[in-house]
């Protein structure tokens, strides 16, 4: 026998924590039919029976016409789940019971979970669950998401309710045509329910000392930036062990696999697929998953403690100019470390449009890899102070790109009428539940790992075919033929076939840029090895610098640096954006924009620089 339940709750009601703890690894992420809203389904076994769980999209109510609200309402009405578990925040009972008032109109079997009962008790709020149960006619379960015993209680209650379901015994709030009186009726309904159940006294709110610091206009912003930078640092530390394991894969597999396959007289083309490409694909995907893991741990912590909400408060004014909510500040700062991290970090955004817009803006932020290769290339052509100017120029253009991206995409992704920016609660500071944070981060990382493996392999094979040459000489590859064929065009953008090739490889991995330059200018490695081995083999920059400066002009070098910086960040960022947005259309759209933008920018920089250099 099986049963199916759905979880319903407002943002910050602890819904995703409960969902993750109920279902563990038995999760499936997809899309709601025809919508870009993420659909989370999972299951658990209790008492030998399987129960499927649908995590309904979070929203504050059900009466609006956002995708999230329509999906939720339709799903509950359809009766696909036999029981709806409604979650409310016990520490903010009056406000969060609004969701139950909305649900009451749908007239379906339910049970009520009073989550964060521990927080409510800490604040001195007592809730008489027995009376509440009697008034509502459905079971009410006080719940503490950190207490494993509470999950057993919940599972037991769900099993009982599925056998003998209850609907709300009270009449639903009256329906009014205009939103104002309708909401009023719902809150009056809530008041009548909680009257005599909880003794909330009107009290004067006093900000905590930390909050007083956090909400200061300038100091608060500095604290936020500091904390996010620290968070990024911690995320890096978390991922280092996984990365080192990943890094060992191509290093240890390359030689033995090559030897083995060559010994079997396998053709060298196939050998390099197994000895170079596949181990590196595995390494790429492992690094990607470990980024996702590290970032999710850190963000999980910042979100759960309530810090993210404060950061959103601080940066809302600034970001609303880009069509984004204040919450986008964290992924954006994360982007300076790693675009993949930034793209995953957009998970904190409220709706899909905002997420997609935030991801496309995060792409404009040069990641740590770019900051490590630009000075190297710049140093070959320019003096140190000119390199500084190049970096400043890049930073200025970051702002320009962000504004252009926002102008181009925000009308579709975040239309004015849906900009619900800053009507947001600042939840009280909570203690972080480490076990849950790590668990959740692990599931997300595992999910990305599984799904990215295919994408990355496919694109790598494509690149392999393009860069393939029978004798290992770059000049015989398809990429060279195409590159030299279109060189008259790329020349216009300030790039010869060599730099254009390095530019293209930069869209795969920024670290590959130096390796590719090395391959095309020095000819001492195949393009394939250069691209995939970039991270594991050293490049002699002095030699390379000599070779490059004799072939390309400083104006070309400058154009190339700008083009590389603002190109598609990397294959992994592209793949993460697709996995996180579930929209191939928008991922391609954004990628095309960045590719074209980089080319045009390169052309502009080249032609202007030529006048002066």
């Amino acid at each position: 026998m099986t049963g199916s339940i759905a979880l319903l709750g407002q943002p910050n009601s602890g819904k995703s924590t409960i969902y993750n703890n109920l279902t563990g690894a038995r999760q499936h992420v997809g899309n709601w039919a025809g919508k870009t809203v993420e659909k989370n389904e999972g299951s658990y076994i209790y008492d030998g029976k399987k129960f499927s769980v649908t995590d309904l999209p979070g929203s504050y109510g059900l009466s609006g016409n956002s995708d999230e609200e329509i999906i939720t309402t339709d799903y509950i009405k359809s009766g696909k789940s036999e029981l709806t578990v409604v979650l409310v925040d016990a520490s903010q009972l009056e406000r969060s019971m609004f969701m139950l008032a909305e649900f009451a109109r749908l007239d379906k079997p339910a049970l009520l979970v009073l989550n964060m009962i521990d927080v409510a008790k800490g604040l001195g709020k007592e809730i008489d669950t027995k009376t509440l149960e009697k008034k509502l006619g459905i079971p009410v379960l006080p719940f503490n998401a950190t207490d494993t015993k509470d999950y057993d209680r919940l599972k037991k209650l769900i099993a009982e309710e599925l056998k003998n379901p209850h609907k709300l015994a009270v009449a639903a709030p009256e329906i009014h045509a205009d939103v104002k009186s309708d909401s009023k009726a719902k809150f009056e309904w809530v008041s009548s329910i909680i009257d005599g159940v909880t003794g909330t006294k009107a009290s004067v709110y006093k900000m905590s000392r930390f909050d007083r610091l956090m909400t200061r206009p300038i100091l608060g912003k500095l604290i936020c930036i500091g904390v996010v930078l620290l968070a990024f640092f911690v995320a890096m530390i978390i991922m280092i062990p996984f990365m080192s394991i990943g890094e060992m894969i191509p290093k240890t597999l390359h030689d033995p696999v090559e030897k083995l396959l060559t010994g079997w007289n396998v053709h060298s083309w196939i050998v390099s697929v197994f000895s170079t490409m596949l181990p590196n694909v595995l390494y790429f995907v492992i690094s990607m998953a470990s980024f996702v893991f590290g970032v999710n741990v850190v963000f999980g912590f910042l979100e759960e403690t309530g810090f993210l909400a404060r950061a959103a408060y601080q940066f809302d004014g600034l970001l609303s100019k880009l069509g984004l909510q204040g919450k986008a500040i964290c992924p954006m700062l994360m982007g300076f470390g790693c675009t993949i991290g930034g793209a995953c970090g957009t998970r904190v955004m409220d709706n899909w449009g905002q997420r997609m817009l935030a991801m496309s803006i995060v792409w404009a932020i040069p990641c740590a890899s770019i900051w490590s290769i630009i000075p190297v290339i710049s140093g070959m052509f320019f003096a140190w102070w000119q390199t500084m100017l190049v970096c400043i120029g890049i930073l200025l253009y970051v702002v320009v790109t962000m504004i252009v991206v926002s102008k181009l995409f925000s009308r579709k992704l975040a239309p004015k009428e849906t900009r619900s920016g800053m009507i947001m609660e600042l939840p009280p500071y909570h203690k972080a539940h480490w076990r849950h944070i790590f668990k959740e981060a692990f599931f997300k990382a595992w999910d990305i790992f599984k799904r990215a493996l295919g994408t990355v392999t496919l694109v790598s094979v494509l690149f392999y075919v393009l860069s393939f040459s029978s004798d290992g000489n770059v000049d015989h590859s398809l990429l060279y033929r195409v590159g030299s064929f279109i060189e008259p065009v790329t020349k216009f953008f300030g790039m010869g076939w060599q730099t254009f090739m390095a530019f293209v490889s930069g869209a795969f991995a920024k670290e590959a840029v130096l390796g590719t330059l090395n391959a095309v200018f020095m000819g001492n490695k195949t393009l394939m090895e250069a691209t995939f081995y970039a991270k594991t083999s050293a490049t002699d920059t002095a030699l390379l610098g000599g070779a490059m400066t004799s072939v390309i002009s400083p104006a070309e070098a400058l154009a190339f640096m700008f083009a590389t910086t603002f190109n598609i960040p990397c294959l992994m960022a592209l793949s993460t954006t697709y996995k996180e947005s579930h929209s191939l259309k928008w991922t391609v759209r954004v990628a095309l924009f960045y590719f074209c933008n980089a080319l045009v920018l390169s052309g502009i920089v080249y032609h202007i620089a030529e006048l002066f250099m």
């Binding site: 520490s91 903010q92 104002k180 709110y205 909400t215 909400a309 809302d316 009507i423």
Partner: protein, 73 residues
């Protein structure tokens, strides 16, 4: 007065909220309805307004806060 004109620590009551249906849905579902008692917690220039209402600390964009009329309780 408008919510944006209220001073920090003021105890007040929401008089009226105006806007399109989307805005009304958002603002009322978080608990800001006519007649609700609230407290202005922080109201700095160019920063969102912080109010305490229905046991919740709420941050409101200034443009949105302009559409909310309040009175001292």
């Amino acid at each position: 007065m408008k919510l944006t004109e209220s001073k920090a620590d003021m105890q007040g009551r929401i008089l009226s909220v105006s806007g399109d249906d989307h805005f009304m849905n958002r603002i009322t579902s978080i608990g800001i309805t006519e007649g609700t008692a609230f407290q202005t917690v922080k109201n700095d220039r160019k920063m969102p307004v912080l109010i305490y209402l229905r046991e919740t600390l709420i941050s409101l964009n200034r443009a949105d806060a302009e559409r909310i009329e309040v009175e001292t309780a």
